[in-house]
C-alpha cells in the first residue's frame, strides 16, 4: 500500500476516536514541551550569564594581591599590599597580549551634594579603565591621562549616584560634589548598566583618577586590584601567564617563592558558570526526557488496547486482502502519526512557553533549530519503537479467529 494511502487510513482510524488520540498525544505533547522549554531556559540563562559577564568585558583579567608567606599568620588577600605603580609601568612596557591595564583602588564613603547625600563607592583608576570594563560615558567626557598625572579632582559618576544626589532635571555636569569631604568636579556620567549577574548595582559608582583617590582618600601607594584586558577572549589565558612572569620579575620573586598575587580571568568565570548551568540544564532535560518516554509507553498501551478492540476490523481487512505487512504498517503509521503530531504540538507549546519565559526574564529568546529537529526525530522514533510491537501483534492475527472475535 502506498504511503499516502497508509496515512489516509491511519487518519481515518484516528478520527474515529478523536478523544483517545488526543489523550494519547498529551503524554508526548507534555514531554516534548518540557524538553524544549527546559532546553531553551538552559540556553537562555547561559547566554544571559555570558552577556552580563561579557558586559564587564569578557577579555577582562583581574590581578589581586595574595599572601605568599609560607608560615606564620596567613593573611586575607585583600589585606595584603603588593601591587604598586611599578607593576603597572612594567606591564605597560612589556606585555604584548593586552590592550590596556589600569590600577584600581576602591573606598566606601558618603557622597554629598548640598542637602542630599548617598553612600557609595569611589573607584580610582586610570583613563583606560572604561574601555577595559566596557564602560562608556553618555554625557560629558571621561577623564584623561593628563588628569591622572596632575592628581585632578575630577570624576565621572554612575546613574544611581546622579538619581540620589541630584534633583530631577538638574544636569550634574560641571557641578562639584564631595566624597568624604574631598570635592570632585563631575565631568561625565556613565552609561546605565543595571545589575550584574550577582545582583550588584553597577551604576552606584564614582570613578576618579587613581592618583587623586590614593593621595586624598586611601592614603596608600598600594592598589586593591589591577585590571587588564586581553586582546581577545581566547588570549586571556596566555596573557595571564605573561602577566604572571612580568609581575614575578617586578616583585623580585625567586623561583622557589610563590606568587604574591593571583590572576583571574573573566573567561574562566564564564566557563565555570557555563558548566554549572549546562549541568543543571542537562539534568532537567533528562527528567523531561523521562516524561517523553512515559508518553511513548502511553502510546504503546493505547495501541495494544486499540489492536484488541479492533480485532474484528483486522480480521475483515485480512479477509478482503490485507497482507500482514499492510496491517503492520497501518498500525505503525497510526502510532507514528500520534507521536509526531503530538511532537509538533509539543514543539509549538514548548517554544511558546520558552518565549514567554524569556520575555518575562528579559532573556534573548532562544529558538534552537537543533532541539526542534531532535525532538521531531525522537517523536518519530518513539512512534516506531512503541508502535511496533502492538502493530506486529495485529499483523500476526489469524484472520479466521479475528473475524469471529466478539
Amino acid at each position: 500500500m502506498s504511503i499516502l494511502n497508509l496515512i489516509r487510513l491511519a487518519l481515518r482510524a484516528l478520527q474515529r476516536n478523536k478523544l483517545r488520540a488526543v489523550l494519547t498525544m498529551l503524554g508526548i505533547i507534555i514531554g516534548v514541551a518540557a524538553v524544549i522549554t527546559i532546553g531553551a531556559i538552559g540556553q537562555g540563562s547561559k547566554i544571559s550569564i555570558h552577556s552580563s559577564l561579557a558586559g564587564l568585558g569578557s577579555n577582562l583579567i583581574i590581578i589581586m594581591p595574595n599572601s605568599n608567606a609560607p608560615g606564620g599568620a596567613r593573611l586575607l588577600g585583600s589585606n595584603v599590599e603588593t601591587l604598586t605603580i611599578r607593576d603597572i609601568l612594567a606591564i605597560e612596557k612589556e606585555a604584548t597580549m593586552i590592550n590596556g591595564v589600569s590600577p584600581d583602588v576602591q573606598s566606601r564613603g558618603q557622597v554629598i551634594n548640598g542637602s542630599l547625600n548617598w553612600p557609595t563607592t569611589i573607584e580610582g583608576a586610570n583613563e583606560q579603565l572604561l574601555s577595559i570594563k566596557n564602560l562608556s560615558v553618555t554625557k560629558g567626557i571621561p577623564f584623561s591621562d593628563h588628569d591622572v598625572k596632575t592628581y585632578a579632582k575630577v570624576c565621572i559618576i554612575g546613574q544611581t549616584v546622579v538619581d540620589n544626589v541630584f534633583p530631577k532635571g538638574v544636569s550634574p555636569i560641571g557641578k562639584t560634589i564631595r566624597f568624604n569631604k574631598i570635592p570632585f568636579q563631575i565631568i561625565g556620567i556613565l552609561a546605565k548598566k543595571g545589575q550584574n549577574t550577582f545582583g550588584q548595582d553597577q551604576d552606584d559608582i564614582i570613578i576618579a583618577p587613581f592618583t587623586t583617590v590614593q593621595k586624598r582618600i586611601t592614603a596608600s601607594i598600594y592598589f586593591g586590584t589591577i585590571f587588564a584586558s586581553a586582546k581577545s577572549e581566547a588570549l586571556s589565558v596566555p596573557a595571564s601567564d605573561e602577566l604572571t612572569k612580568i609581575l614575578r620579575v617586578s616583585h623580585h620573586l625567586r623561583s622557589d617563592i610563590d606568587n604574591d598575587f593571583m590572576i583571574r580571568t573573566q573567561a574562566e568565570l564564564i566557563k565555570t558558570l557555563g558548566a554549572v548551568t549546562g549541568l543543571l540544564t542537562a539534568l532537567l532535560t533528562a527528567i523531561a526526557g523521562i516524561s517523553l518516554v512515559i508518553g511513548g509507553i502511553g502510546i504503546m498501551n493505547i495501541m495494544y488496547v486499540s489492536v484488541t478492540e479492533r480485532t474484528k476490523e483486522i480480521g475483515l481487512r485480512m479477509s478482503i486482502g490485507a497482507r500482514g505487512i499492510d496491517i503492520l504498517s497501518q498500525f505503525l503509521t497510526e502510532a507514528i502519526i500520534v507521536s509526531v503530531v503530538g511532537g509538533v504540538i509539543g514543539i509549538l507549546l514548548g517554544e511558546g512557553l520558552a518565549f514567554l519565559i524569556s520575555h518575562a526574564l528579559k532573556w534573548p529568546p532562544v529558538v534552537d533549530e537543533t532541539s526542534i529537529i531532535v525532538s521531531f526525530s525522537v517523536c518519530f522514533a518513539i512512534g516506531v519503537f512503541f508502535g511496533y510491537y502492538p502493530a506486529l501483534k495485529a499483523s500476526k492475527l489469524d484472520p479466521i479467529e479475528a473475524l469471529r472475535y466478539e
Binding site: 500500500m1 481515518r12 475483515l316 490485507a322 497482507r323 500482514g324 479466521i400
Partner: protein, 248 residues
C-alpha cells in the same frame, strides 16, 4: 462453461489437545461460472471449515482446491491475501462494516489493498458498486445511520467492488427479518442472473436454498447431497407477495 471452483478430496484435520478432529473427510465438487450454489448443513457438519477453505482463509490438510485455476495450496500467507483481494468478495452475517466510516469509504476498502488502482478510480468504482446495490443516495451515511438491510447492501457493494470471480456469503441473511432477507436475496439473484456473478452462499435455512440453482448438503464432513434446483423461486416475486402493511 469455465470452472471457477474445483475441489478434489479436500480433508481438514484439527489437533485439539491429544485428539484429532476431522472436520472435512474428503469433499469434492466443482462450481461453474455463473452458478448460484448454497452450501447447507447443520452445525458441526464442516460447513464453516469448508467456507474458510473456499474463502482462502484456511488451507486444507490434504486435497487440491483450485480457485479460478489457481492452486491455493501452494501459496504463501501474503499470496493468499492477494488472491482473496482479487478473486473473492466476502459477505458476512454481521455485515462487518467499519464503524464511524461512511458507506463509500467502507466500499473503497478492498481497493486500498490493490496496488493497481488509483485513488480516483477507487472512488468511481466504489460509487458504481453502491449504485449496483441501489444505495447511490446513501454514499456518505455512517453504518449506524443505515438499516440492517442497507448495511448488508453496503457489504455486498464492498464484495462487488473488486470484481471478484466469486461472491462468498456466510449466512448473509441470518441477522435480517424475512422481508429484508427477501430484498437481499432478490439483489443476490439479480447479480447472479443479470451480471452472471458466481455465488456461493453458506446457510442453514432451506428457505434460502430455494432461491439458488444448486444445493450442496454437508453432513459429518462429507457431501451427502448435491442437487440442481429445477424450479428456482424468485425472491422478487416472494417480496411482492408479502403483505404491504403488517398488522399486529
Amino acid at each position: 462453461m469455465k470452472k471457477i471452483l474445483e475441489l478434489h478430496d479436500i480433508k481438514r484435520e484439527f489437533q485439539m489437545g491429544s485428539e484429532i478432529v476431522r472436520a472435512l473427510k474428503g469433499v469434492s465438487f466443482d462450481v461453474e461460472e455463473g452458478e448460484f450454489i448454497t452450501i447447507m448443513g447443520s452445525s458441526g457438519s464442516g460447513k464453516t471449515t469448508l467456507l474458510n477453505t473456499l474463502g482462502c482463509l484456511d488451507k486444507p490438510t490434504s486435497g487440491v482446491y483450485l480457485l479460478d485455476g489457481v492452486n491455493m495450496g501452494n501459496l504463501s500467507r501474503n499470496e493468499l491475501a492477494q488472491l482473496r483481494n482479487e478473486k473473492i468478495g466476502f459477505v458476512f452475517q454481521a455485515y462487518n462494516l467499519l464503524p464511524r466510516t461512511t458507506a463509500l469509504e467502507n466500499v473503497e476498502l478492498p481497493l486500498f489493498y490493490n496496488r493497481k488502482i488509483s485513488p480516483s478510480e477507487r472512488k468511481d468504482r466504489a460509487i458504481e458498486a453502491l449504485k449496483a446495490v441501489k444505495l447511490e443516495d446513501r454514499l456518505h451515511h455512517m453504518p449506524n445511520e443505515l438499516s440492517g438491510g442497507q448495511q448488508q447492501r453496503v457489504a455486498i457493494a464492498r464484495a462487488l467492488v473488486n470484481e471478484p470471480v466469486m461472491i462468498l456469503a456466510d449466512e448473509a441473511t441470518g441477522n435480517l427479518d424475512s422481508r429484508t432477507s427477501y430484498e437481499i436475496m432478490s439483489l443476490i439473484q439479480e447479480l447472479n442472473q443479470l451480471q452472471k456473478k458466481t455465488i456461493v452462499f453458506v446457510t442453514h435455512e432451506p428457505d434460502i436454498a430455494a432461491f439458488s440453482s444448486r444445493t450442496v448438503v454437508l453432513k459429518d464432513g462429507r457431501v451427502v447431497k448435491d442437487t440442481f434446483n429445477k424450479d428456482r423461486r424468485s425472491a422478487k416475486e416472494m417480496l411482492a407477495a408479502l403483505p404491504q402493511t403488517e398488522d399486529y
